[in-house]
């Protein structure tokens, strides 16, 4: 029974990961690649890690797995944000079909780390 659950979870995890992998190759610009990959992979790896918890059925392993998953879900969006932001600042181009860019011109030319205030 557990084995089947594990198999299912592992499969879906692996598939999500594969999706992310395909996505990162296929997506046309960096921002889309980040959008696609970070979460899909996080989800996929989270699922696979959960399999290990189920498989070993030990408190210590489960704790660890939960900790890792928590950690991934805490850090993945932060690093996605950081890289996306850095990319934007250094001028990594958006996809040509991007329809709107509200950030355009918002970064101070001199202090490009600073996003100007709204007022």
């Amino acid at each position: 029974m557990t084995d089947i659950v594990i198999a299912i979870l592992a499969t879906s995890g692996a598939v999500f990961t594969l999706l992310a992998a395909v996505g990162i190759v296929r997506m046309p610009d960096l921002y889309l690649r980040i959008s696609v990959t970070t979460k899909a992979a996080s989800l996929g790896i989270g699922l696979i890690l959960f399999c290990t918890a189920l498989y070993f059925k030990e408190t210590s392993v489960t704790t660890k797995v939960l900790a890792i998953i928590f950690f991934i879900f805490l850090t993945a969006p932060v690093s996605a944000h950081l890289i996306g932001r850095a990319a934007y600042i250094i001028g990594v181009p958006l996809w040509v079909h991007t329809i709107v860019d509200h950030l355009e011109g918002k970064y101070d030319k001199n202090k490009n780390d600073e996003l100007s205030s709204e007022e």
């Binding site: 084995d3 594990i6 198999a7 592992a10 499969t11 995890g13 692996a14 598939v15 990961t17 594969l18 992310a20 992998a21 395909v22 990162i24 190759v25 960096l30 690649r33 980040i34 990959t37 970070t38 992979a41 996080s42 996929g44 790896i45 696979i48 890690l49 399999c51 290990t52 498989y55 070993f56 030990e58 210590s60 392993v61 660890k64 797995v65 900790a67 890792i68 950690f71 991934i72 850090t75 993945a76 932060v78 690093s79 950081l82 890289i83 932001r85 850095a86 990319a87 600042i89 250094i90 990594v92 490009n112 780390d113």
Partner: protein, 91 residues
Amino acid sequence: MSLHEYLFYIIMPILALSVLLIFVRFVIGPSITDRVVALDLLIITGMGLIAVYSILTDQPTFLDIAMIFALLAFLSSVAFSFYLKQRRKND
């Protein structure tokens, strides 16, 4: 097919294939940020490989490595983005 065989013959290859694909992005770039994203993802996927491998070898202790991977992947993303902006600043 036992769970181990399933993991070994199906899951591992899928993950390995993902790794390869991600690596393709790493190779083709084109911008350095692409490579950074690819590296990040590579490490995350590596965690999956390690998790499966820990089941295959019955060694839960490998999970600690996965934890370290997660931590350091984050750190390197932070560092790279720090660098990218600093470089811009100093250009």
